[in-house]
Amino acid sequence: MKIEAIDTSETKEYFINMGPQHPSTHGVLRLLLTLEGEIIKNVEPHIGYVHRAIEKMCEKSSFQQIIHLTDRLDYLSCHMNNEAVCLAVEQGLEMDVPERVKVIRTIIDELNRISSHTLWWGVMGMDMGAITSFLYGFREHEMITEIFEETCGARLTMSYNVPGGLMFDIPPNFQKMVKDFLFHFKKKLPEYDTLLSNNIIFTERTKGIGYLSKENAIAFGVTGPSARASGFACDVRKLKPYSAYHKVNFKEIIFTEGDCFARYKARIDEMWESVSIIEQLIDNIPEGDYFVKTKAVIKLPVGEYYQSVESARGEFGVYIVSDNKKNPYRVKFRSPGFANLSALNKIAQGCKIADLVAIMSTLDLVIPDIDR
């Protein structure tokens, strides 16, 4: 009998499938991890588990119908998505909407951003193991959904924008509701810091973890707070102001650390900025019409129209190619999540499984936004 010596010191990489149903993937994202022990060697995202063919559907839909489909893309920044389509169509029709519409759109944008970020904060805490933060984040999120519900009747997928203005006028108590909320929120936001930002376990787990350099952020097209935490000034509200953003003073939050904590902090600070934007506008809503009458069948002149807005996750772009029919010839959504996800492999290499959870949380992925 021949005895073979077996080298037991050999280590092997192994694979783990995270998802499609996994609590930390925030939906149905599948990650194929190559691990060595707990160290991540490679992350291969497999997406498309909620690919709903929205771009194909848009080619068969009228422009008003497209707006309702964009709600379902990134449902946490639905109003910004609506607005992108509306602005693109208005740009094609060479239409100027009333000042009142612009201001209301901006206020709702920022409310939507706050609601998205509060929810992100809660889920981030939950991913890190602090389940209580999830409930606290949702408390504020619910308050904003109530305002939305009073304004347009829907809690989540609002479709409040139409080409040429808004679906309805704001309710008479809108300003009071928003002010009440801001009063409450400004007291609660420091509480967020007490629970997570100042917690030693949390800072230990996020500081210096998941570094994304500015060059990589630009190369991968990462946008939004995730990129601004790496020092990439990419805020569409500053670069190409739309609606009423040229009228308000706000700071573009930029950090240079590029780690998870910077991305976390960027979002927290962005909430403060949103609060300040709303405060500047809420008392100055101009009187006037809330829409401009458009034709029932909108036909854009032949050409191509690109409009980007700053959604809660980054630059959301709509690219419409029109051939002067009632349906667009081609619609492409430049979704921020898709680009942010592509950088995941770069960020996560060399981290541990627990770090991957933190990284994914701070990238703030919304899967339908990625899959479209």
């Binding site: 783990i16 602090a130 389940i131 209580t132 917690n199 787990r205 627990a354 770090d355 991957l356």
Partner: protein, 363 residues
Amino acid sequence: MKILSIYDFSNLTQAIHTWLSGKMSVVSTQVVEMILVGTVFLLFFAVLGLVLVYAERKVCAIIQVRLGPMRVGKWGTAQTLADFIKLVFKEPLITRDADKFLFNLAPFIIIIASFMAVAVMPFAKGLQAMDFDIGLFYISAVSSIGVTSILVAGWASNSKYSLIGAIRSGAQILSYELSAGLSLLTIVILTGSLQLSEIVESQADGWWIWKGHVSSIIAFVIFIIAGTAETNRGPFDMAEAESELTAGFHTEYSGIKFAFFFLAEYVNMFIIAAIGATVFFGGWMPLHVGNFEAFNNIMDYIPSVVWFFMKVSAIIFLMMWFRWTFPRLRIDQLLTLEWKYLLPLSLMNILLMAFLSLMGWHF
């Protein structure tokens, strides 16, 4: 030190023993007594599980600004009973490639390990199933058997998530066992005995947490951290880290076997809290303040078993509070905390306590 004799359980147990001895032989008396004690503990276990799970859900609800279970029974009190019955009647699944024998064995190991630890617990004066003279050592030894169950469960499930969870848990419990043991040893320096009943008796004139100066407070803090880690609860719930490993080592378990793991977690929490209460807070000893005779007399009227459970619940509440407040640590941070901070600290603490004890500076 006078404890009101009506609350002394030794009279009751003695009476039962005498009555049984009169009826039958020595051996059969012992067998009957064992069966009696076993049955009582089984019932106690069931009740403990139900109460603690309910308490956890309510405490968590209060911390999270919600109501918690409300619809099943008054204030949702029957909620955990419903959960338990449901789990019993749920289909127990075994995956095809699992090691069936070990897979089925694992839940029993963990439940037996925690069962054994309760045996030496002094619930009240005279209410203790077994009074070993190495009681504390026995508890430390027995409670670490539980980790084999977790390792076996993780291995036998034949799932990568389970395996990672189990290995994490193994590393964690083995490490924190050291700190937990050393922090208990700090108090043993003062008591001079490992026997739990003697440790309790030695605190008749004051609890060790006060009498042992700063050293015993440090020991208690270390103990509660290590204890939380040993029970695999948040912020140390690495083994089941939900957002990373779905459910950790019990990912593949369902039905009654999962219920065992679920129950064991809460019983282990009770055991850690009970040891903490016994060693640091005087077990079933009432609260006495110096020469405050009137106050002390009133305190004596509260039964010792009530004292014990009050202290235990306070510590359990503390542990629940941790869980619902802190984020989870990462595995390497967890081990760093133990080996680089807690372990050296508890060794220093023992030295400090030995010094205090030598100089006679404790009360």
